[in-house]
Amino acid sequence: MMTQRTISLNENSYRELKKLKKKSETYSDLIVRLCNLQNPVLNDPLLEFSGIFSEDEELWEEIENFIQNHRQSHLTNEDIREE
């Protein structure tokens, strides 16, 4: 069994927490959820969506090559002056 700790809150803090608490959640769950919102890793959309292109290796291999070629075909000018 997990050790329990008691913390005291003033009335205002308690009311604010109560507003955020979901029905299925304990106050411990709520505090962990709120702490996670401050975690840069957990709160990063790039990591949240990591793997959305992973299902299709072949497709994204092709798209990456396509993007690479697209880059190569739009270069900064070599020399724009007329002779």
Partner: protein, 146 residues
């Protein structure tokens, strides 16, 4: 502060473990990590290409929807950068230096490079060939290769 180049964004979205682990390490240090609209446009080029659309219609549609959702969240966090007037001055100078040195590079790399120089941000990329040219030309440019 960092800007992740297109190849790094795709690496994360393709679940490339090595890239994700490195990304997590810098993310844990609470360093702001940005993307540019130019990188996003490159990924959209892939989504809109007719050949890919014909070959993988359903998969691409779903992936684009998820990608759009991710972009919305990043936008909300102010993590998507575009060229400002100050960045444009740096870009103009970079175009000039690339031309007089006879070293053309992809325009998108120059755009990302100029934003990074102008705002003192480090670019993270796997494209050493082109970004090393920017470094050669402008010593203030900061880049790391993954």
């Amino acid at each position: 502060m960092y800007i992740v180049d297109t190849n790094i964004i795709i690496g994360i979205l393709r679940n490339k473990e090595e890239i994700i682990n490195k990304y997590k390490k810098i993310s844990e240090k609470s360093q702001p990590i940005y993307l540019t609209t130019y990188s996003l446009s490159e990924i959209y080029v892939g989504f809109y290409d007719q050949d890919f659309k014909k070959k993988y219609p359903k998969k691409l549609k779903l992936q684009q929807e998820l990608f759009n959702r991710m972009i919305k969240k990043l936008e909300y966090q102010n993590r998507i950068l575009s060229l400002s007037v100050d960045d444009a001055k740096i870009l103009g100078n970079l175009f000039h230096l690339l031309r007089v040195n006879g070293k053309p590079i992809p325009i998108i790399d120059a755009l990302n490079g100029a934003i990074a120089i102008s705002r003192d941000i480090t670019v993270i990329t796997s494209d050493k060939a082109h970004f090393s040219v920017i470094k050669e030309i402008n010593k203030q440019f900061k880049v790391v290769y993954w």
